[in-house]
Amino acid sequence: MSFKISGKFLFVCLLILFFLSSPAYPEGKRDYFSKGDSKRLTLLQASMCEGIENLLPRNRAIVFSIINGKVFCYMSFDPVPEKVSIYHNWFYRDKLSTSIKLSLKPPRWATYSSIKLRESDKGPWRVEITDKKGIILHILRFSITD
């Protein structure tokens, strides 16, 4: 029963995060990425990090302490030919914990998702970055420890 409550709690948290997840690069700066519209969507960078500062990942790592309270999955695409949706599928061990939808906009875009950490989240995780068809673009592996 406690597991179900925790699951719902996590789901609500992640739902909030989904709506709060914001592009690292605001739309107002779209002209900055103006070139390469005709090219294919390309993942430039993906990493797990402790936070986002100045629209860039802070302390990229593969092991995170639960004390941090949150963990972030950062990614940047260049070019982004058209508006597209990308998914961050968070797996705890081999079990899907949550799937977060993120939007990318031309000409290039950086964004992130994050989860709140609880005591029961300690262990190995992975984030699969997929397109809307489920094709895996990249996998990031990390662990949550004490």
Binding site: I62, V63, S65, P124, I139, R141, S143, T145
Partner: protein
């Protein structure tokens, strides 16, 4: 009638062999030890055991405990008491003697001559003591006299016990056809129930007979009678024939032709009684009051196709309700009971197996009454191999001064064998736990993969060790 038929039809050939072997052993014990002290000791031990069982059944705690203790040391008592018989038995020169021979002591002993000599002495009113040893050693019971070693004859006996002979007061010991010792001093009996006219010679004869299994012949000087002492009995011989018969029985010499039917009859009765006793014991072991016990037995799966995997068995052990006699049930050893399910015809998916007598292996005369649960479900999957990504399972307290920036694994993937349904849902194999507590700087370690579920196996040829190269950076504040 039908019960009787079903009883006989349930007897196995092994039971018949069992009864025959043990009946023969019992019969041989009788044949070897009959008319000896050993037989009385055996009876004593048997009674001891019998009363111990009664004491147990009546709930006499102390009595049963004491009797059990005595019975436990009975094995040592038997070895000490039977030492001569055991030695004689083991020294048997042929298998035939071992399996069929009847002990024949002092073969060649001239019993007719001994009997003639005894009556000759008595009629001449010459006192004499002749000892024919049994299996007991006489050394402890007598004071040794003078070695003689002469062939036995009436004349020699007469001369030994002649009044003027210096050794005439002692006893003559006869072994085989020789007088081996003369002037032997025998222990005197302290019995008070002996006739008042019995003198020292009679008391000496009674004394040795009480202490050993020897037979002592007394030629009475005053009465002119022949008296035989054996065990606690003193018997006056009414004639030479009676003495000859007693000597034959004592020495185990086959009776004359006319006595054969009697001996055959005795052995025949002994054989029949042996069969009846062992049959009764067998019956009480195997057909006594039914007792019910329950045993928790693990289920063994046999004949599994190498291309199939057992992926789920909700029932690992079943409870067997067994019946039989309490003695047999108590003696069951765990390795004698097994529940086996044959997976030869099992199909991919869920299989139900009903446990019957054919699945349960039990010791003889133990019967299966019930099984819980009666049906066992087994999920079978086809076996396959798959390349799985490896991920480090970091654990422990991460130092606040550092952070792990990257990790490189070699190999990054390993090939794993297992049930296809299991492997369908697995994409990652994790390493054994790697503790971060002690890691302060960049380094390398080698670990094993932790296969979960345990039914998974690393495929032949795939690496079973993973090298982790990690990069650690100091945290800047």
């Amino acid at each position: 009638m039908s019960n009787l038929l079903s009883f006989f039809s349930s007897i196995r050939w092994q039971d018949v062999v069992d009864i025959i072997i043990n009946s023969y052993i019992l019969f041989r014990i009788y044949a070897i030890f009959r008319r000896t002290n050993v037989f009385r000791v055996l009876f004593g031990v048997a009674f001891l055991w019998f009363f111990q069982r009664i004491a147990v059944s009546m709930g006499l705690i102390v009595s049963s405990w004491v009797l059990q203790g005595i019975t436990a040391v009975a094995a040592f008592i038997i070895i000490v008491v039977f030492r001569n018989e055991i030695r004689a038995f083991l020294q048997a020169k042929s298998v035939r003697t071992l399996l069929w021979g009847v002990p024949r002591k002092a073969v060649g002993t001239p019993i007719e001559v001994i009997a003639d000599s005894a009556f000759d002495l008595a009629e001449s009113h010459v006192g004499g003591l002749m000892v024919i040893p049994g299996t007991d050693d006489l050394e402890d019971a007598t004071q040794r006299g003078i070695s003689w070693g002469g062939l036995f004859s009436i004349e020699m006996i007469k001369s030994i016990f002649w009044h003027d002979n210096p050794v005439h007061d002692g006893a003559a010991i006869i072994e085989g056809d020789r007088v081996v010792e003369v002037g032997v001093i025998l222990p005197l009996s302290h019995r008070t129930d002996l006739p008042s006219d019995y003198g020292t010679r009679h008391r000496a004869a009674a004394g040795l007979a009480e202490k050993t299994d020897a037979l002592v012949i007394v030629a009475s000087e005053e009465k002119g009678a022949v008296i035989v002492a054996k065990g606690t009995h003193l018997s006056i011989m009414n004639g030479k024939e009676e003495l000859v018969q007693i000597l034959r029985e004592h020495l185990g010499i086959p009776a004359r032709d006319g006595d054969f039917p009697r001996r055959e009859l005795e052995f025949g009765i002994a054989a029949l009684v042996s069969i009846l006793i062992i049959g009764a014991v067998w019956f009480s072991f195997t057909r006594g009051l039914d007792t019910l016990i329950t045993l928790e037995v693990p289920v063994e799966y046999i004949n599994r196709d190498s291309g199939k995997e057992i992926v789920d068995t909700p029932v690992n052990a079943v409870r067997l309700y067994l019946s039989g006699t309490s003695l047999l049930l108590k003696s069951i050893r765990p390795e004698q009971v097994a529940v086996r399910i044959d997976l030869e015809n099992a199909v991919i998916g869920r299989n139900s197996f009903t446990i019957t007598n054919e699945n349960v292996s039990l010791p003889p005369r133990i019967f299966l009454k019930n099984v819980k649960p009666p049906v066992v479900e087994v999920a079978i999957d086809s076996s396959t191999t798959r390349d799985l990504n490896v991920q480090v399972d970091w654990v422990g307290k991460l130092s606040e001064d550092i952070f792990f920036t990257s990790v490189q694994l070699n190999p990054e993937k390993i090939q794993v064998m297992g049930g296809s349904r299991i492997l369908e849902n697995i994409s990652t194999i994790y390493t054994e736990k790697v503790y971060v507590d002690t890691i302060k700087e960049t380094g390398k370690i080698t670990v094993k993969p932790e296969l979960n579920p345990p039914s998974l196996l690393i495929a032949p040829g795939s690496k079973d060790r993973i090298t982790i190269e990690y990069v650690v950076e100091k945290r800047t504040r």
